[in-house]
Amino acid sequence: MKKNITVRYFAGFREHAGLGEEDLSIDAATASDVYEQLKHRHGSSEPQGHCKVAINDEMADWNSPINDGDTVLLFPPVAGG
């Protein structure tokens, strides 16, 4: 079943996608599904384990469920400090 979600891209993901945010109708059960289905957008060849995901401004796991209306934040490998 398709879900209506908002996806936000950061840093290199945003530059590759050419936009910071988009509303999508997507057939995804987990955050991992979102990441895999949007590879053409964020353009990352990184293993998922190198990237992070947040759902509705809470850090999440790749196997976290996706619900209708969620905002999914896709983070490329971080590099603070």
Binding site: A54, D57, M59, L73, P76, P77, V78, A79, G80, G81
Partner: protein
């Protein structure tokens, strides 16, 4: 945990941690250096997703307080464009004795680097630029993920 687009002034931040019960203060400053992996760096740009950087940073500081018997801990990270030599991140910890202050300071900076949604883009002397990819850090040092794997 704070994020700022202004110059970090460690001396002023240190004063926020003063405590008559403290016998030790450990401060860490991360600076912008002029080269990385063989390339001459001109300046650096930090992108910070502030709502979650602050939330996750507060969790890291709370973890440090739970793990080590310290009095106070604080961390400030820069956002925006930084020049060579500028302070990008500061961590300060006070405690009764030095051992726990060193350990807690180390824990906080290590976790901040691999867990907070912060990215840096290096602008090189030769004109191009690139996002720094710290995949080694992401794989090995995230205590939050490690904890989950253990469970």
């Amino acid at each position: 945990m704070r994020v700022t687009d202004s110059t970090i002034e460690p001396e002023k931040l240190r004063d926020e941690l003063l405590d008559a019960a403290a016998g030790a203060y450990v401060g860490f400053e991360g600076w912008i250096r002029n080269q990385n992996e063989g390339q001459a760096v001109l300046r650096l740009e930090y992108e910070v997703y502030e709502p979650l950087a602050i939330k996750e940073g507060e969790i890291v500081i709370a973890e440090a307080k739970a793990k080590f018997p310290i009095l106070h801990a604080q961390c400030v990270h820069r956002s925006g464009l930084l020049e060579i030599g500028e302070c990008a991140v500061w961590v300060g910890v006070t405690s009764a004795h030095r051992d726990e202050a060193f350990a807690a300071c180390r824990y906080i900076i290590d976790q901040v680097k691999v867990r907070l949604p912060i990215w840096k883009k290096e602008h090189y002397v030769e004109g191009h630029s690139g996002w720094v990819n710290c995949e080694r850090c992401a794989e090995h040092k995230d205590a939050r993920s490690a904890k989950k794997v253990a469970v």
